[in-house]
């Protein structure tokens, strides 16, 4: 659509009664221009095409072909065309513009949070001006597109000061409504029912039913499509709602994937066992059971009308509304535990699973932090040496250019590693590409270090290599992790395709 434009001969009327000014209407992407034939006329018009709503007269009515455009601010512009086809051409063009407008608008919404006030930009420039090292890093990574501007600054929020730290978004809580409340819509003629799933509903289902979440990760897309998955899920829900456990059992026996939904949720049971240990002791009714020998197997009074009728609960295809309500409320109370704003169901599922396995996850991160901090220590001690006892410092004995180079490599490796480790675990394609770029930049630096080692004078070589070694070690660790992760991913995705494990 870019570059296209429409030009028609029209009469411009500022109101219905206005006889109209003849002229040309030019519509191009983003701009609507009316140029009157009489250059002295003051009814020139220049309007942005965004936010236009249009009304027009119908063909066949006895009215002339008018197009009434309403701009957001409330002004009406009426154009009288010479014929209907002209008008339609214009109308369609504007409609098309409106549509294409919407999409960039959406994109704008997603980046609008990233949009910066001028003040913030100024602050960044100031910081760069004042700190040459920072400037150099910025130049090295941002301008070479290893990192984006935002990524670069994201790790330096402290530098940007209080005001610039984006106000922490208040997380929106979950709605109290139960998902089981979503009623399918029917078309009334066939027995077909349609469920509308929104990301919020999917999130809720995954959060409340870990077994469904796990099944999704296991089956989609390797075994079935997402649509099939949800169809099966609602089939299972339907079976629950009929309370016909015999049918449920029969169907589960035939279809092992369906059975996953119908069986009691084991992941949930495990979570429950963990949670009960952390419960407030004043509520722990289980502890009381320890002292109750009056209700030792079949002791006590069973059927005196105080205790209730207990329906056989051991039926594994039975799940009660009460349990669902409790579970739902618990999930709502937990709130949105993940910060993934993705439409991709799988990403949501994986992120949730990760949060639940929180502990392990934290450990892994802790590992990489250790590597990282040991590196920082080397650098800071080196710097201290410079400060404290310059004469004896080995760094000082290096030629200034070499010294600067070493220090610069240090800081840039630091920067790269910080971004690298914080990208794990890789949850989005975006992170995937980012890690790739970082890895390339790192291997680049690695070879530069090698080159530097080679280039220094032989008497200094040993010392320089001592200095360089921890840096290279840190990089090696990162490469190793990168490879291992990559292998794991490949294995996982290929394993998914061939569930029997054939390679």
């Amino acid at each position: 659509m870019a570059g296209e434009q429409v030009e028609k001969r029209v009469k411009y009327k500022s109101s219905v009664k206005d006889p109209g000014t003849p002229g040309f209407l030019k519509i191009s992407e983003g701009m609507l221009l009316f140029v009157p034939n009489d250059p002295k006329s003051d009814s020139k018009l220049k309007v942005q095409t965004q936010n236009i709503t249009q009304k027009f007269t119908k063909e066949g009515s006895n009215k002339p072909p008018w197009l009434n455009l309403t701009i957001k601010q409330g002004r009406n512009h009426i154009f009288e065309f010479e014929n209907y086809p002209d008008m339609h051409a214009c109308r369609d063009f504007i409609t098309a513009l409106g549509k294409s407008d919407e999409e960039p608008k959406k994109a704008a919404v997603s980046t609008s949070t990233e949009q910066l006030s001028n003040k913030e930009l100024e602050l960044r420039f100031k910081l760069l001006r004042e700190n040459s090292e920072l400037q150099r890093l910025h130049k090295q990574f941002v301008e070479s597109k290893v990192l984006t501007e935002d990524e670069f600054w994201a790790t330096r929020k402290k530098l940007l000061g209080k005001d610039s730290i984006r106000k922490s978004k208040q997380q929106l809580g979950l709605k109290s409504m139960m998902v089981s409340g979503i009623k399918p819509s029917t078309d009334g003629r066939t027995n077909r029912v349609t469920f509308n799933l929104t990301p919020e509903i999917i999130f809720q289902i995954f959060a409340e039913k870990p077994a469904v979440r796990q099944a999704f990760i296991n089956y989609v897309p390797s075994k079935m499509t997402e649509k099939d998955f949800w169809t099966k899920y609602f089939r299972a829900e339907y079976l629950y709602s009929t309370k016909n456990t015999a049918v449920a059992a029969a169907e589960a026996a035939e279809d092992e994937e369906l059975a996953v939904f119908l069986k009691p949720d084991e992941i949930l049971a495990r979570e429950t066992r963990q949670k009960i240990r952390r419960v407030d002791p004043t509520l722990d009714m289980e502890a009381d059971e320890g002292d109750d020998y009056s209700h030792l197997m079949d002791h006590g009074i069973q059927r005196d009308g105080t205790m209730d009728v207990v329906e056989p609960q051991n039926d594994q295809f039975k799940r009660s509304l009460l349990q669902d309500l409790n579970r739902h409320a618990a999930v709502v109370l937990e709130g949105r535990s993940i910060d993934v704003d993705s439409e991709d169901t799988r990403v949501v599922a994986e992120a949730l699973t990760r949060v639940k396995q929180g502990l392990m996850f934290h450990l892994k991160i802790a590992d990489s932090i250790q590597v990282f901090s040991s590196l920082t220590r080397t650098i800071s001690t080196a710097k201290n040496i410079i400060g404290k006892n310059p004469r004896e410092s080995f760094l000082d004995r290096l030629p200034k250019s070499t010294k600067d180079e070493v220090l610069h490599h240090w800081t840039s490796i630091q920067e790269l590693l910080r971004h690298f480790w914080s990208s794990y675990p890789i949850t989005t394609p975006y992170l995937h590409t980012k890690v790739g770029k970082l890895k390339d930049a790192m291997s680049n630096t690695y070879s530069k270090l090698d080159a530097m080692k080679e280039s220094v004078q032989s008497d200094l070589r040993h010392q320089v290599s001592l200095l360089v070694r921890p840096m290279q070690q840190a990089l090696d660790a990162a490469f190793q992790h990168y490879e291992a992760d990559l292998q794991r991913r490949i294995a996982k995705s290929s394993g998914g395709e061939r569930p029997n494990g054939y390679v």
Partner: protein, 758 residues
């Protein structure tokens, strides 16, 4: 503060005292002086526990020559811990003022599950398997065997405790279960056996009711308590039920199947024992001939549960000859199981007295009454001889033997009722043979006889004259206290109609009426939108709650409720309910607000507090009557009428109303608290029902609040909440003293208690 009640100097760890606490102590002291029993009703939230502890420990200090022991019985572990925590404060205060002579030893006692510190034993999932896991490591024969076989795993804590022998003692102090565990871990001694050992030395013991009332446990734990003890049953409004449950037992099909499997196993063990170590069985036989059922030298861990019959009913005779041989005993049990199986095969409900049951058992299976009576002892002896440690596996045969012993021991106060299915679910065949005790006085009689003073106290004991009849004892003091309040912090209401003026009730013919269900729902919808934080609802039964929630879900009422508050529900799974409660509290804490649906007579109604913001409103849906067609209930009512002259209707109303009072009482746990109580059933407006509520609720129930519709109740609730939000004067002014200082008490001592202002 320190003050005198007659000749006793009372040490009370706070600067002020409520007038009703003071009065309570006065009555308590009279009871102790008279060495008799008493019945005291005092609303919760008035500091009953500290008044009790303070008076009894002070009384003990004032009579150093005849020191009394305090046995304090609670219903829940959490109350146990709370009581001990209060005692700690009191103990510190007394030691501060009196020095080391005020030092006492106070311990809490619970099951292995709550006291064990051995992680391997604790990994077992329930109480019975924890018990068994412990026995597997501590039984005397296991330990003996381990000297030869080092692969046998023992418990280090128990070994260390045994090694320390007489030196394994707790220094004076107050020990909660938590403290005991910490002490045990620290010293490497088993806290459970240490605590059990210390029972005989402790000045104060806090444990569960069952440890005194259930002969199975009491026979092991509480056997050696001295007569000079004061026994307190706190929150005792359900004590009659605890008593009859302790002596009741039933048999189902699964019990019989399990018992048969157990017998097969026992049979195998006997054969093996004969082949390898015939001497063991012969020694047992000789012991039984001599008249000793059990070895005299049972170590603490060996005996598992005591005889289910009450101590004075247990015959001190030799085990009858026909079951002395192990094989013979197994044969007798087989015949018993067979007979019970035949009886379970009935298609009609059968009710029988123990006497006729025993005689038909004798004629058809050839088992005599005396043989039955010894079943428990004989089984215990056999299991010890065969050195069986996995006691949890042998529960079914244990149950059958308990049944036999009880049915052989008691001729009156019991019935045997056989039902092919539950009345309310006739489509599910579930035959059951129940031996049910009707007489609560049986189980508690040994306690009244054995101990100097027994104190029965609770927030709801109305009508207070009924308890002495149910438990057949004569209290020397029986009193109901009111609550002195600076403001009307409770607001009971009786809701009889919905907004559409149609009556609401859970009466059998009305409860499933869609209009009633809707009106009940609308009441809650309206209330959740004006009441802050927590709201608790109690229903008359699980099945009713299940049904009404399902209907609310279908009609969208639940959704409307959920728009205001999160919904949590008590289910029959204790673990799930505990988690739901934990979440409920967190929802109230974080300000989201929540509703908790619960059941009268359920575990939540019995043991969980909904104080402060955890419960600003409690709605009691319906009158929680027992299911009156229950055969056991009918038999009990008949027995009560014939034996104690208690009318059926009176008992049923009394029972329903004490449960209702118990439910609504959960919202207020202190005077600074406030809460509303809605009794949502038209039957509450009738005088004969209402008047059975405890006085402290009735005194706040205004006449204008007796017949409300939903919209009126909403209006009253709004007003009440607004009033409660105002700041108030805690000590009480304008003549109504609600907090007394030491000075006030001294003045009162001169002029007499009567002048105390309410």
């Amino acid at each position: 503060m320190i003050f005198k009640i007659e000749d006793v100097t009372v040490y009370f760890p706070y600067d002020n005292i409520y007038p009703e606490q003071y009065e309570y102590m006065v009555e308590l002291k009279r009871t102790l002086d008279a060495k008799g029993h008493c019945l005291l009703e005092m609303p919760t939230g008035t500091g009953k526990t500290i008044a009790l502890l303070s008076l009894i420990t002070s009384y003990r200090l004032s009579r150093p020559d005849s020191p009394i022991k305090l046995v304090y019985c609670t219903r829940t572990v959490h109350e146990m811990e709370k009581t001990l925590a209060e005692l700690k404060v009191l103990h510190d205060y007394q030691v501060l003022h009196l020095g080391t002579q005020a030092k006492i030893l106070a311990i809490g006692l619970s099951s292995r599950k709550n006291l064990c510190v051995n992680t391997k034993v604790l990994a077992a999932e329930n109480r019975d398997s924890v018990d068994a896991a412990c026995r597997k490591r501590t039984a005397s024969w296991v330990r003996a065997l381990s000297t030869e076989n080092p692969n046998i795993e023992l418990c280090d804590y128990f070994e260390n405790y045994e090694k320390a022998a007489e030196n394994a003692l707790l220094p004076p102090g107050v020990y909660t279960l938590e403290d005991l565990r910490a002490f045990g871990k620290n010293r490497g001694w088993c806290p459970y056996f240490l605590a059990r050992h210390m029972v005989q030395f402790a000045n104060v013991i806090v444990y569960s009711y069952q440890y005194l009332l259930d002969p199975k446990v009491a026979g092991i734990i509480s056997k050696e308590l001295q007569k000079e003890s004061v026994v307190v049953f706190d929150e005792a409004h359900n004590i009659d039920n605890v008593c009859i449950e302790a002596l009741s037992v039933s048999v189902r099909r699964v019990t019989l199947e399990g018992a048969n499997r157990n017998l097969n196993k026992i049979r195998e063990e006997i054969d093996r024992s004969k082949a390898t170590d015939a001497g063991r069985l012969r020694a047992e036989y000789n012991r039984l001939v001599e008249g000793l059922a059990l070895r005299g030298d049972l170590s603490g861990g060996d005996q598992w549960l005591a005889n289910p019959a009450l101590p004075h009913d247990i015959l001190k005779e030799a085990v009858p000859g026909n079951i002395r041989r192990a094989e013979h005993f197994v044969h007798v049990l087989r015949r018993l199981l067979q007979y019970l199986g035949v009886r379970l095969d009935t298609e009609n409900v059968e009710k029988e007295s123990p006497v006729s049951f025993v005689s038909s058992l004798n004629s058809q299976a050839g088992i005599e009454q005396k043989t039955l009576k010894f079943c428990y002892d004989r089984l215990q002896s056999l299991m010890l001889t065969l050195e069986i440690t996995d006691t949890d596996e042998f529960l079914p045969i244990q149950t059958v033997c308990d049944f036999a012993t009880l049915v052989g021991t008691y001729a009156r106060g019991f019935s045997i009722i056989i039902e092919p299915y539950d009345e309310r679910m006739p489509h599910i065949p579930d035959p059951i043979l129940q031996l049910s005790c009707h007489d609560a006085s049986l189980a508690i009689k040994p306690v009244f006889d054995r101990f100097q003073s027994v104190v029965i106290t609770s927030g709801t004991l109305s009508p207070i004259d009924l308890y002495p009849r149910l438990l057949s004892f004569t209290p020397v003091v029986s009193r109901s206290f009111k609550m002195s309040m600076t403001r009307d912090c409770i607001c009971p209401m009786v809701l009889t109609r919905g907004s559409d003026q149609l009556p609401v009730s859970t009466k059998f013919d009305m409860r499933s009426d869609p209009g009633v269900v809707r009106n009940y729902g609308k009441l809650l919808v309206e209330m959740v939108s004006i009441v802050p934080d927590g709201v608790v609802c109690f229903f008359v039964s699980y099945s009713y709650m299940d049904g009404i929630i399902a209907t609310w879900n279908e009609t969208g009422i639940l959704k409307e409720i959920m728009q205001q508050k999160l919904v949590f529900i008590e289910t029959q799974d204790v673990v799930e309910t505990t988690l739901a409660l934990d979440n409920y509290r967190r929802a109230c804490d974080c300000g989201r607000g929540a509703v908790f649906f619960s059941v009268a007579r359920g575990k939540v109604a019995e043991g969980i507090d909904f104080d402060r913001h955890y419960g600003r409103l409690v709605v009691m849906y319906g009158v929680p009557f027992q299911y009156t067609l229950s055969k056991i209930l009918l038999a009990r009512l008949e027995y009560l009428r014939d034996t104690f002259q208690i009318k059926e209707g009176d008992f049923l109303t009394f029972d329903a109303l004490r449960q209702a009072a118990q439910c609504v009482g959960r919202v207020i746990r202190s005077k600074a608290d406030y809460g509303m109580m809605i009794f949502a059933d038209k039957r509450y407006s009738r005088h004969d029902k209402r008047s059975k509520l405890p006085g402290w609720i009735l005194s706040h129930l205004r006449d204008a609040h007796l017949n409300l519709s939903t919209d009126m109740a909403i209006h009253i609730a709004r007003e009440f909440l607004r009033k409660m939000a105002q700041p108030y004067d805690k000590t009480g002014t304008m003549g109504r003293k609600t907090l007394l200082t030491q000075e006030d008490l001294e003045k009162m001592a001169e002029t007499g208690v009567q002048d105390m202002a309410y």
